[in-house]
């Protein structure tokens, strides 16, 4: 019967179509490759000794050239910064924005906060909100901004993360052009805007901010850097080509003082800027870093100023600060001129026990690498290391030290991007979008640029602004988050950085502030390495990296043990010895290790990503 035949034919057709859908071949399973011991017998005609027995450990180690892989899309992060530009070239448009890593739900996995600006009044095209991305622990993130109650429209610049009320949950401070906002973490995945109650609105043009305990009273205080006096009405007209308006330099504007808010311990703050000696209406600050440059147990502040001298505020132990930048040699460039000074970071990059400074500067200025000799004097090593020369054509915003290859020597990242989109008019060799620089620390005060050797994702030209690092996939090595002006954010996963050993340390204060901000951590290995770190907020530009510290311990060797010493801001000293490397430990003030989790090396399963 024709019906049967027709149905038969159609079924066959349908079947063929379905059959054609191919299944993905199953991915290769996880394999663990144990560590062979190294042995190098000399070449000779004498019989060579048999290869030694394979020491098999249960921890699989990945191996391959270190690469940074752009995983933004596969992580599900679809944020785009909106600077509201509509043609008038208002100065704030070119400055933002920042990003912060934080673990807002305390599940041990770093989440991401992205700051957004907005459309200018009269030119609204839609709503722009910041974004809070929850880490799903599997390489993907979920946008939980609305759920968290963070959908506010502000002309945001940066963020600072800290537990100001010591309740165990990370709170968020967002800086804006306008009024800033303090969001208290309620602990249930939601935040509440407590700005008014806390009294930290601090209106003006805020840039970077950080949480630190300057009076050592166990509560973190808030320092907010300010840039310039600016409003739409007072916006200046500048031009680079005598035809069209360009973004102005800050020299056309007056500065605006920073603000220091002292944490009263009851959820409110008091503005102590003048009392602390930090009132300076000439400052045009963009970056802040906390450090203890004289190791006296009281937090100092470094503030990088744009076209003004930088500030190194020494903590006088009595609630006041004194600016010693000029004496210390960090106020001006080598030639005695002021430089731009955007992003900044303080770290002990040569394991000397003293914190040095890095500052990102303008094009034709080169970065600054102020090395501390321990006596309060700093010398700019950037020219000698080659960093100044390489960064001459770059306008550096976010910058920080981080040990990407975990060899125990902190390396340096600089995220670049010009402020004038028409910069090529004045200098044809300069570009608006610029690639970042990754400088590998070779030790003995030598750095080598390796940007082009860590995969194709990092050396892409972007209009870079903020930058932060964190181990978001919990595999032991540090990944990067980079923001762009009026563009998307980029999440770069570090692959195979964890072929070396490392130790990750989280601090839990009891008498000191809950986050342990300001705690100084010294790590020693049984093979002779000695490393220094400090739990800190701020640094970079408008951004904040994760709070836990990562110490690179170099090549895996059998029998390597680690000892950790922590000096808290309360003065308490804790020590732990005989630790295995490749762990994530949490140390509580006065108690010692309260949790230890071995690092899971996942990279061995996937193909060498590139």
């Amino acid at each position: 019967m024709p019906t049967i035949r027709v149905t038969g034919c159609l079924t066959l057709l349908a079947f063929l179509v379905l059959a054609g859908c191919r299944q993905e071949a199953s991915k290769p399973q996880k394999t663990s490759s144990p560590q062979p011991a190294a042995s190098f017998p000399p070449p000779a005609i004498v019989p060579v000794s048999a290869p030694p027995a394979i020491a098999s450990s249960t921890v699989p180690r990945p191996s391959g050239p270190i690469q940074f892989t752009d995983v933004t899309a596969q992580a599900g992060i679809r944020f785009k910064h909106n600077n509201g530009a509509f043609g008038k070239k208002y100065l704030p448009e070119t400055m933002g924005s920042g990003a912060c890593f934080l673990d807002y739900d305390n599940d041990g996995w770093q989440d991401i906060l992205l700051i957004n600006s907005m459309d200018w009044p009269g030119h609204q095209t839609g709503k722009s909100f910041p974004a809070l991305y929850h880490n799903n622990q599997n390489g993907t993130f979920t946008d939980v901004t609305k759920k968290a109650g963070l959908e506010i429209e502000v002309y945001g610049q940066g963020c600072a993360v800290g537990d100001y009320d010591n309740d165990g949950n990370e709170d968020i401070y967002i800086t804006t052009v306008g009024s800033n906002h303090l969001f208290r973490n309620l602990g249930n995945g939601k935040f509440a805007d407590v700005t008014a109650k806390a009294g930290v609105a601090d209106p003006g043009f805020s840039s970077s901010a950080l949480w630190f305990d300057y009076d050592n009273d166990g509560n973190v205080d808030l320092f907010v850097a300010h840039y310039i006096e600016w409003s739409i009405e007072t916006d200046q007209y500048c031009t680079l080509d005598n035809k069209n308006k360009s973004y102005c330099t800050p020299q056309r504007y007056k500065g605006q003082s920073a603000t220091l808010f002292r944490n009263k311990g009851n959820g409110t703050f008091e503005n102590v800027t003048r009392r602390a000696g930090l009132y300076d209406p000439t400052s045009k600050s963009l970056g802040v870093a906390m450090l203890d440059f004289d190791n006296d147990g009281w937090m100092d502040l470094f503030v990088s100023n744009d076209t003004e001298p930088n500030k190194l505020y020494h903590n006088n132990h009595d609630g006041t600060f004194t600016d010693v930048a000029i004496a210390a040699g960090v106020a001006y460039g080598d030639a005695g001129t002021v430089r731009a000074g955007m992003g900044t970071d303080a770290a002990d990059y040569d394991n000397s026990g003293w914190q040095s400074l890095v500052i990102g500067n303008f094009t034709n200025e080169g970065m600054a690498l102020y090395h501390s000799d321990g006596s309060g004097l700093f010398t700019d090593e950037a020219p000698a290391t080659g960093i100044a020369r390489i960064s001459t054509e770059s306008l550096t915003f976010g910058t920080f030290f981080f040990d990407y290859d975990l060899d125990g020597l902190p390396d340096l990242l600089a995220v670049n991007g010009h402020v004038s989109d028409d910069v090529a008019v004045v200098q044809p060799t300069l570009k608006y979008a610029q690639p970042p620089h990754l400088f590998r620390n070779l030790g003995k005060k030598k750095f080598e640029e390796v940007t082009a050797r860590v995969g194709s994702a990092l050396p892409r030209a972007i209009v870079g602004r903020g930058a932060a690092y964190a181990d978001f996939d919990n595999d032991g090595d540090l990944d990067l988050l980079i923001t762009t002006n009026n563009g998307p954010v980029r999440l770069l996963r570090n692959d195979y950085g964890n072929q070396n050993d490392m130790l990750r340390v989280k601090t839990l204060g009891t008498r000191s502030n809950r986050d342990g901000i300001g705690a100084k951590v010294t790590v020693k290995t049984s093979k002779g390495m000695r490393l220094f770190g400090m739990v800190k907020t701020g640094s970079s530009y408008l951004s904040q990296s994760e709070l836990p510290l990562t110490f690179g311990l170099g090549r895996p060797e059998a029998g390597k043990t680690v000892s950790v010493t922590i000096v808290w801001t309360s003065g308490q000293k804790d020590s732990v010895a005989n630790l295995e490397p490749n762990q994530f430990i949490t140390v509580q003030e006065g108690k010692g290790i309260v949790s230890a989790r071995p690092i899971v090396f996942k990279a061995a399963t996937s193909a060498l990503a590139h």
Partner: protein, 598 residues
């Protein structure tokens, strides 16, 4: 009528079954291979006898290859025309007994690197100090390969730099430095070559040099006069570069004799290798050509005769990109492996494994392609491949790298590529007619192959299981015992990618023996010397080579894996001078350094 309907119904069922059968088989075999590749290192060691770990970073090697930026007229298809150049060769340039690694860079102004083996597990780049780093200066073209050979027999390996540009010959001054001697030797001013080998074709004890051109030699790829530089055909192209045979006259002088000697080809040569295939004592020359058939030249000591068609290797045109010899059946006869292109549903050339037909030998030797039977046929867009006993079990295994152009993962250039490939020569010969790449990939991100020889004529791919999981665009593969442990490590040069160094860990139960030869009457590098090892009732022959694979050169030492409990009978060395030397009952686990007896 009813019987007809019944017949029809049955036929319908058979019909459906036939259509479904290949799918079912595909699923089953996919599951089986997935099971096989999931194992931890201990199991891998037990099952396959070895595993590999990528250690370039830890060894102090952080080299990333740069591709050339050619004439802007070629910009739309730049990824395609600038898709080769990565190369690596192993040499012990300072005679300290530790293999060093020379790797080239292919962008104008970029530097090549010579990683000197420090003997402590790490390497240090000394190319700049020795003067062989800054060799890609503007106006001189870029490096596409390097082969080492002691052309003046002073004991130190000299360097020939293969280029798209001005080829260079560097004399190794006792391991302390290099002197450029290109002018004196009479090298041509410009070539566009990707392959060259050192070999003593006339057996006079002086190494001669063969260079195979790819693009025609009158083309300056940075200043092209016309865009008609592409091959005239995808399978029958004969408008490529010419071949060169530099006959070593001694005292640093060379004479170009290719045409006179019978090598008169303008095919697009990509890989060349030489070995004594017929037992005549003279090395025969195998050339794998892109866009066409391979060529095999029999060498009678003075002239070359092209015998590709008569021996069977020069018949079916493919895209030959590799030539490596290996005695895979332990019968004392070489098989030849040629890499081609295979892409599901579009182009399945399949790699060639030319095995000498049983019963044929000498001048009447015939080859048959047994790649499919042996399971080494499908390797994606295959490039460099080398034979070597990676697990020391006594049979030669095959390491293959592949991957052409890895750009955007989600967009493929294959459709546009197949459009052009199907067209007439007037169309495809002009680069202007090629669709622009626009950032698309062409057979990129491919998995590598490591075929383990089971000794019985079957190879099994264990790459993923033993730790080879990179997906870079691989080009050259070189095998060497880098840390003097009696195992073969693998070095891979990737186009626009890092140099990978895979450190081999082999189960100690499988024993080995190595030979390092030095000629006296024969050329000092002993290139062309054959060692036939007899053990456990079988034999394996290996020959010292002056370049093989694709843009690669293995270590000079001959490494034999022996398996468990080997009973070594004898090793017979046939020197290029003709001298035969026998070593009775050699001991396993040793490196034999042998100088040709007077």
């Amino acid at each position: 009528m009813t019987s007809n309907r019944l017949a029809r119904a049955i036929l319908g069922i058979i019909f459906a079954a036939l259509l479904v059968a290949p799918l079912v088989l595909k699923r089953l075999s996919a599951r089986r291979t997935a099971e096989k590749s999931s194992a931890d290192a201990k199991t891998t060691l037990a099952r396959h006898g070895f595993y590999l770990q990528e250690v370039s970073q830890a060894a102090g090697i952080q080299f990333v290859h740069q591709a050339p930026e050619l004439d802007p007229k070629l910009s739309p298809i730049m990824p395609e025309v600038a898709s080769m150049g990565a190369s690596v060769s192993i040499v012990d340039f300072d005679r300290d007994g530790w293999s060093d690694i020379y790797v080239v860079n292919s962008a104008i102004g970029s530097k090549n690197a010579l990683y000197r083996n420090l003997g402590d597990g790490t390497f240090k780049d000394v190319a700049s100090e020795l003067g062989i780093a800054d060799v890609n200066q503007p106006g001189s073209g870029v490096s596409t390969g390097a082969v080492w050979g002691d052309y003046d027999n002073d004991g130190y390996e000299d360097l020939f730099l293969i280029k798209w540009g001005r080829p260079e010959l560097y004399h190794n001054d006792q391991g302390h430095g290099f002197t450029k001697v290109s002018e004196q030797t009479g090298l041509p001013p410009w070539i566009n070559a990707n392959t060259a080998i050192w070999f003593d074709y006339d057996g006079d004890g002086l190494l001669d040099l063969f260079v195979g051109g790819y693009y025609a030699e009158d083309i300056d790829l940075w200043h092209i006069a016309t865009t008609r530089i592409m091959p005239e055909s995808f399978e029958y192209a004969k408008n490529g570069g010419r071949k060169y045979l530099f006959h070593n006259l001694g005292h640093g002088k060379f004479e170009e004799v290719a045409e006179k000697s019978g090598i008169n080809s303008r095919r697009w040569a990509l890989a060349a290798a030489a070995a004594d295939l017929r037992g005549t004592g003279h090395p025969d020359l195998f050339i794998a050509n892109d866009y066409g058939v391979s060529e095999l030249y029999f060498n009678d000591g003075k002239k070359f005769h092209e015998v590709g068609q008569q021996t069977g290797v020069g018949f079916a045109p493919k895209s030959g990109m590799n030539a490596a010899f290996g005695d895979i059946l332990n019968q004392g006869r070489y098989a030849v492996y040629v890499s081609n292109i295979s892409e599901d549903g579009i182009l399945i050339q399949g790699n060639n494994l030319w095995v000498p037909k049983q019963g044929t030998a000498g001048d009447a030797i015939k080859y048959e392609n047994l790649a499919r039977d042996f399971g080494v046929e499908l390797g994606g867009w295959s490039f460099g491949a080398q034979f070597g006993d990676l697990n020391n079990d006594g049979t030669l295994d095959l390491y293959l790298t592949n991957g052409y152009i890895s750009l955007d993962r989600n967009r493929s250039y294959w459709y546009d590529f197949s459009k052009v490939a199907g067209g007439n020569s007037t169309i495809i010969g002009d680069a202007q007619n090629w669709p622009a790449f626009e950032g698309r990939s062409l057979s990129g991100y491919q998995s590598k192959r490591l075929w383990l020889n089971d000794g019985a004529g079957k190879f099994v791919d264990v790459a993923q299981a033993v730790g080879v999981r990179d997906t870079y665009d691989g080009r050259a593969v070189a095998l060497a015992d880098l840390w003097n442990r009696g195992v073969l490590d693998v070095v891979v040069a990737n186009q626009k990618g890092p140099l990978l160094v895979y450190k081999n860990t082999v189960t100690p139960e499988n024993e080995w023996i190595e030979f390092e030869l030095e000629g006296t009457a024969s050329n000092r590098s002993a290139i062309g010397a054959r060692v036939t090892l007899f053990w456990n009732g079988q034999q394996q022959v290996q020959e010292v080579s002056g370049g093989s694979g694709f843009a690669a050169q293995n270590q000079r030492r001959l490494h034999f894996g022996l398996g468990k409990y080997p009973q070594l009978e004898r090793a017979v060395i046939r020197w290029p001078s003709g001298k035969l030397q026998t070593i009775d009952k050699p001991a396993a686990g040793q490196l034999y350094k042998i100088k040709e007896p007077a």
